[in-house]
Symmetry: D3
Subunit: 316 residues, 6 copies
C-alpha cells in the first residue's frame, strides 16, 4: 500500500472542499505513470443512450463523485479500511459518444481492456445499465463470468421498438448470447414491478439464470437469499452489477424506471456485505439519474453501496 | 375481451410518448358508443374543495394519468393480466365546480349514476377524500355497502369550523348517516397520528366500525390484519377506499395531511393483494396532491396501487 | 370552421381537469376520419437522442400538453381567435425509437409526409432541435424553404465527437446541404453564448445565412430586427423554428443548453407577432426539457409562444 | 410614534431567528390593549377558496411573514423610515372557513370592520383575489373608493362554472355592482395573457374603468402610465390592490394563474413608488402561492412591494 | 393547568393560519409575566456555526414552528394530552451570534440558566448538535446528568481542522470532560456510517459510554435495546438528545450529515415512547436543516418526535 | 501559450463527462511543477462563516466547477480566446476551517501570498464576501488597490451583533481601515434594497467611496455608469469584486441575501465587458449559494460572468 492513494480526510479538508474525485482519491488517468500501482480503479461511464424511458444517468458519475466526498475511510461494522487494503484511484471517465451507441460500446470496451491489461479491477459508476455490456466484453476475455445482479428488472429482453438490440433492457441477454456470462452462475435479486410479459423470464429459465423476486427476498430474509446467491456464483470469477432501482424509490428516487415495493437502505447495504469472500473481478453501480434527484440523496446511497462493494473487493 | 381495450405497450411506443390516459387505455367519455363494452371505468375527480388543510388533490388525476403510463400489462407475482380479464377504459374526468361544494357533490353523483347504469364498475382517481361520498351515493342505491378503508385518519368527524358538514374529514360520517355504508361491514386500517380528541373514534365504536390502528398492523402483521378485514366485509358488495396518506410520507410525500410512522410501499401493495376474492363494486385512490410532490413519486406509488386494485377487481 | 374543433373553455371545465391535449383541442390521430377537416395539426415529437449535453426534451410534448390547458381562446392584443380562423387539432405524438437515430429520422419524416399529404400545416412540440430536420425533409418536397430561426445557437455545425452527423447541433447544416432550406432566405436571431470556434459562423457566411447576434437585437430593438427578418424570408413559403433557449434562462430554465443574456418573455412573444403576414408552412417549438423545470414555467412560456405562432399561422 | 412598534433589527437578532411576524413587528391581535395605538395594521387572510385554477394562496400569509423578516427599516432611495412615520403592527390572520365561501366573506368583513372602527388602515397579505371583496365591503362604508389595481387579469367577470358569483375572477365585478368602487376612479394596470372573450373588458368599458394593457405600460413607460393612474384616482380615498401575477412569472413564479410577458421586479417596485401622495385607505398583496415557489423568492418580492406600499401609506 | 396554555385547535383555526409558534402554544418570552406559570418551555436555538459540513440548521426553529402547527392535542395510542398535563409555552429563540462561537455558547447558557431558574424544563429545537453543550452547561449545575442520545454519529471527537474544539462533532466529548454528563449513564443509539477512525469509540469505551450501533438495534429490536437504555440511565436526572440524522435519510433528508441504513419513522417514534417514566430534565431535537428539505417533511417528522418527547416529559 | 493549458472541448468530451475543474482546465495545485507556467489561477474559497443570514456559499466552488464545464473557448462578440491569451489553470481550493474565522483568514491570505509570489493573478470563486478581505491582504502588499465592486450591498458596515468585526457585511470597511483599498479609487455599483440605516453610506461618503445605486444604473444606462467607473479606478492596479446578488434574484436566486429590482443577465455581462483595458490584479465572484439554487442556474450565470472577467483580465 502506498500513501499516495489515501483519500483526503474530512478532519483536514472539509468534505465540501476540493476538486471532487471518487472518494477523494487521486485522479490517475489512463496513461499516467501512477497507473501501474493501482489495484482498484473507480471509473465513470457518463452514458445513457440505451435508456428507453427517462434519461439522465449520463450525469451520474459527476454527482456520484460529488457525494462520494462524504465517504470516510473505515467500515464502521467490520473495521475494514479498503484504501489501506488496496491502492485505489479515480481513473476518470470513459469519453462517450452520446449520439452513437455502437461507437460508445467500442469506446467503453477499449477503455476497460486497457484497465484489465494493467491488472486493475474496475468499480464502475454508470451510466445506464447498457454500460455493463461493454465492461463485460472487456473483463470476460478468459471465459464467461458469474454475476450477482441486484435490480428490479431482469434486463434480459431480446429487443425493443421493433428490433433494437442495444438498450438498457437487453444487456444481459446479449451478455449470455456472447458467452460473457455463464447463465448457470448468474443470480438476479429483487425483481419486481408490473411486467410486459414473460419473455425475459422464459429466457432466464431456459438458460438457467436464477431469478429471485422481491417477495422471496422479504419472505426468506436477506441472509438466506444471499447464502443461495453465494452458492450460485461459487468461487470462480464473478461480476457484481448493482442497479440502484433495486432499492425502493423512497430511498432512491433518482432513477429512470423505479419500481415500488423494494428493499430499504439497510438491506441495500446488507446484500453487498454478504458477498464477502467472493472472487469479484469487477462491479458496477448504474442507473443513478441526477436530474430526478438533485438533492443527491440517491447518489449518496449509491456511493455508500459503492464503499461496501469496495470493501468486499478488498477482502473486507 | 375486445382488443380495442388493450393498453399501448412500452415496447411499441415509449412510455413518455402519447396523450396520457389512465394506464394508456382508450379514452371513452360518457356518451361515446364504446361505453357499452366497458367493464371497468377509470375516472378522475379533480376536486379538493373539501380540504381543510393543504389543497392540491384537484391536480391528482392529471399527474396520475401521466405516471400511469409507466404501468405494464401483467402482475409480476400472480401473472394476472387485468386488461385481458375485463374491458378497461379511461372515462375522463368529472367536471367539478371548485367554488361550490354542493353543486360538485351533485355533479359527481350524477356522473357515477350514469356509470353504474351502464354496468361499469368505477376505479376513481381523486381528488380529496370528500370525493368518496358522492361516489357512494351513486353506488349504494341498492343498499348499504361494506368498505375496506386504508387511511391514517378515520374521516368520521361530525363537522369543522363551527358546523361545516362537508369536508374531507367527514365523508364517512355522512355515508353512515345516509346509510350508504353498513358500519358493521366497515374496517379502517392504518389509523395514526396525533388526535384532536376521540369524537371520531367514539362514533366508530358506537356504530360498530372496526378501527385498526397502525400499531396493530405492525404488531400482528399484514396477513393477519387483512384476514380480519376480509371477514368483516364478507362476501357482500364492498367498496375499497384508499387514501394515499395511509402510506408513510417518506414513500408518499405528495399529500396534504401526512402522518409519520406508516407502512412502506411493499406493505402498501400487500394489503390490496389480500383483497382478492371480495365482491368489489368500486374503489378509489384519493388525496394524491401533486404540488407537494412534483417528482411524481407519490403518483407512481398510487398508480401501482391502482394496478393492484384493478387486479383484485378483475379476479386477479 | 367546424364547432368540433373548439377548445374546452375554462369557464366550463376547470383548466386542471380533463385528459390533456394540446390547447384542449380534440385528439385526431392519423387515420381518424376527422383528419380531413383539420387545417393545423399540433404534433408532439418526444425525442432527444440528438442531444449532446443534458437530455430531457423527449418529455417535452407531455408537459407542453399539460401546461397548454392554461391557454384561452383569444389573443388579448389583436382580438384574433385562432381556433375560429382554422380547424386545429392535436394529432398526437410521433412514436420515436429512442435508441436509434436513423430509424427515428425516418419515422418522423413518414409521419409528416402524411400530414402534409392531408393538407395540414404542422405546429410541432419537440423534442430537441434535431426534430426539425425530418420535419423539413417532409415539408420541403417542392423546394427549399425560407426559415426564421430563434435560438441562442446556430445549430450549423458539421459534426460532433469525431464525425457524428446527426445531433441537435447540426440540423440546419444538414438541411442546407440537403437543399431543404434556401440559405439566402434563412435568418437566425438571438445567437449568443461562449463559442467553440467560428466553424458554424463561417459556414453561415459562406452560404448566405444571416446571423443576428443578441447584441444586435438589444441595440436595434425587436421591431427593427424583425423587419429585416421579414425582408429576408419574403413572401415565399417559410418555416419558423423556435428553440426555447432563445429566451433568457431566468424565463426558460427548462432546457439543456441555456445561454445567459437573452431576451425576456415579452420580447419572446413580440418577435413572433412580428411574423404576421408571412407564408408559414410549419413551425416548431423545441428543446423544452421538463426535468430541468418541473414547475412547468418554461413549458407555459413555450405554449404561450405556440399560441402566438398559431395566431400568425391563421392570419392573426 | 412609540418605540414599542419598532421592528427587531438584523444587527441585534439575525433575520432567521425569532417567531416570524410581518416585518418583525409586534403581534397585536384584535382585542389587545395596544390596538388603540396602531396606525397601520398588517393582516393575513389565509384563504383561497375562490381560486378557479391552482390553489395555494391560503399558505401566503405564513410565507410572507417568514420572508418579511428580511426587510429592514429604511427605504434606500427616499430615506423614508415607515416604522417611525406610523405605528405599525401585525394584527394576525383572519380565521377563514376553507369549506364555506359565504361564511368566510362574512368573517373577513367583520374583522376589517373592527379594524376600520379602531382607526387602523390595513395592509393585507392574501389569500387569493376574492379576499379584496370583503375588505372593500368593510372599508367602503362611507362611499365608493377609487382603486389602483396591478394585475394581469381584470377580475371583472360575471361568473364561472354556470353561475358561480364569488371566485377570484369576479371580485371587482361584485365591488362595482355593490358600489364599493367608483368605476370612474378605477384603473387596472398590466392586463395581459390570452383571453376567454371580451365580456370583462366590455363591462369595464361600459362602467368607465380604465384598463391599461401591458403593451401600453411598456410603450409609454412606467412614469407616464402612473401619472395617468394618479389622475384617475385623484385625491379622494383610494384602495390599492396588487396581484403578484402583475409581475412576470420569471420574477414571481409562485402564483396560480401566471401570464408571461410582464414587468420585471424593478418596475414592480417603481409603480408603487409612483403612488406617493395619494390618500390610501388600504392596500393588499394577493395571490402569492407558496406551493408553487417553495424557495420564497416570490414571497420576498411580494414583501419588498409591501414595504413600498407601507412607505407610500405613511407619507414616504 | 391553566387554559391559557392550550394550543389553538385546527377545528377552530385552520392549521395554515396564524402566527406560527411551537405547536400553536402561546409565545411567552423570558421576562414576560406568564413565565412563572410555565412548566415546559419550547425553545429555538437557530445556530449552526459548529457545522463542519453542510450548514442550515440555523433555519431549523422557524421551519419546525411552521410544521408544528400540524400537531394536534392528543396522543393517539396512549390518549395522553400533554398540554393538559403541564403548562407548555413557546419561549422564543435564543439570539445567536452566527459569527462568534464562544459568544454564542455564552448566550445560550445564559438563556437556559434563566429558564432553569424559573423552574422550566426545556424542549429545544436546534440548531446543530453543538447547541446541546451550552444547554447541558446550564442544566447540569447540580451534577452530571445521564443521557439517552439518538444519532448516527457519536459526536465524541476531540477536535477538527487541527485543534478546533467546538464543533457539532465534539459536544459530548466536551460535556464529559466538563463533567456535565456522567459517561456511565450515557447511551448512544443508532450509530452507523463510514468512520474516520476509532478515536471517538475508543474514548467512549475508556469512559464507559455505551454505544449501540444500528446493527444491534435491528438485530435485537427496539424494545430490547430501549430496555437496556432505560437501565443505563436509571431513575436519576436524564437528558435526551435526538439528532434527526438518527433516522434514515429517506425519512429525514433535511439534515447536513446523513447516513443511510437507519431506522424508519415508526421506529423513530417508538424509541421515544420507550422513555416513559424516566426523569427527563430536558430534551432537544437537532440538525434539522431546512435548505436540504424545503418540503418540510423532515421537520414534520421532527415535530412529531418532539410531541412524543413532550408526552414522556409530562408523564405520558 | 502552452498547449497544456487548453480546456477540454465539448466536441471531444461531452460537457457532462470528466472530473470537473474550473472551465475544464488542468488542475495545478500549489507546489506542482506546472505552477510556474500559470498566468491566471482560478481558485475556490469554500467558506461562508462570515455569513450573517442564510449560509451556503461554502458549497459554491464545487457547483461553479460543475457548471463551468458548459463554458467554451471563445468570446462570441469579441472573438477573444482567453485560454490562448494566457495560461490558465485550476489551482484548487483553499482549505478553510469552517469553525474558526481568524484561522481561516490566515489560511486564505497565506495561500494567496503564495499565488502572488508565483506571479499568478487570481480569479476567485467564493465563498461569501468576507473571502475578499484576506485576498486583498495578500494582493495589496505594494499599496492600496482600486476596486470596481458589483453588489446590492456596500459591505461597509462597522460590525454586527454587538461588535463582531469580521462578517460578510464588513470586508471593505476593514479593507479601507487596513489601507488595502484606496477609497478614492473604489466604486460600488448596483446598491439597493431596504437599508438598516445610513452608517455604511456615511462612511463611504466620509472616505470618498463612490456609491452608485441601482436607480442611477437604470437611469443613466450601463455604458455611462461604467465610463465613470473606469475613470474612478484609472490605470493603476485594480481589483474587481463581483457579488452575484448584484444581479436580480430572478436571474440569480442562489444567494443568501438577495435584493429585488436588480439588473438582468445581459447587463450583468455588459458591466464586465466595460472593464476592458483596466489593470486588473485579481477578481472574485462571491456569494453563490448552491443550496438555494440546486438547478445550477445561478452558478451558470456566475461562471458566464467569470468567463467575461477572464477575458478582460487577458486583454479581451
Amino acid at each position: 500500500m502506498s500513501n499516495d492513494f489515501q483519500p483526503v480526510s474530512g478532519f483536514d479538508l472539509p468534505r465540501f472542499a476540493g476538486v471532487p474525485t471518487f472518494m477523494r482519491l487521486p485522479h490517475v488517468p489512463l496513461g499516467a505513470p501512477g497507473l501501474r500501482d493501482v489495484g482498484i480503479g473507480l471509473i465513470g461511464i457518463p452514458w445513457d443512450s440505451g435508456t428507453t424511458n427517462r434519461p439522465g444517468p449520463r450525469h451520474g458519475p459527476r454527482q456520484l463523485r460529488d457525494l462520494s466526498t462524504m465517504i470516510r475511510a473505515e467500515h464502521a461494522v467490520t473495521g475494514h479500511r479498503p484504501f489501506e487494503a488496496a491502492n485505489c484511484a479515480d481513473l476518470g471517465d470513459v469519453g462517450p459518444n452520446p449520439a452513437d451507441i455502437l461507437d460508445t460500446l467500442e469506446r467503453v470496451s477499449a477503455f476497460y481492456s486497457e484497465v484489465r491489461a494493467a491488472g486493475i479491477r474496475p468499480l464502475t459508476a454508470g451510466g445506464d445499465h447498457l454500460c455493463s455490456l461493454p465492461v463485460l466484453r472487456a473483463l470476460a476475455k478468459d471465459g464467461p463470468l458469474g454475476m450477482v445482479h441486484f435490480d428490479s428488472h431482469t434486463d434480459l429482453f431480446h429487443s425493443y421498438f421493433g428490433g433494437t438490440m442495444y438498450t438498457h433492457g437487453t444487456p444481459f441477454r446479449r451478455a449470455v448470447e456472447e458467452e460473457l456470462l455463464d447463465p448457470k452462475r448468474v443470480v438476479q435479486i429483487g425483481i419486481r414491478g408490473t411486467a410486459y410479459d414473460r419473455e425475459d423470464r422464459d429466457f432466464a429459465e431456459a438458460v438457467g439464470i436464477r431469478v429471485i423476486p422481491i417477495e422471496e427476498v422479504f419472505d426468506r430474509g436477506v441472509a438466506d437469499v444471499m447464502a443461495e446467491a453465494r452458492d450460485i456464483v461459487g468461487t470462480a470469477p464473478t461480476y457484481v452489477s448493482y442497479d440502484i432501482d433495486f432499492v425502493d424509490p423512497a430511498y432512491a428516487p433518482g432513477t429512470g424506471t423505479p419500481e415500488v415495493g423494494g428493499p430499504n437502505s439497510y438491506q441495500a447495504l446488507q446484500v453487498v456485505r454478504a458477498l464477502s469472500g467472493l472472487d469479484i473481478v469487477g462491479a458496477d453501480m448504474v442507473e443513478v439519474s441526477p436530474p430526478f434527484d438533485t438533492s443527491g440523496g440517491t447518489a449518496f446511497l449509491a456511493v455508500s453501496i459503492m464503499f461496501e462493494l469496495l470493501c468486499v473487493m478488498t477482502g473486507g
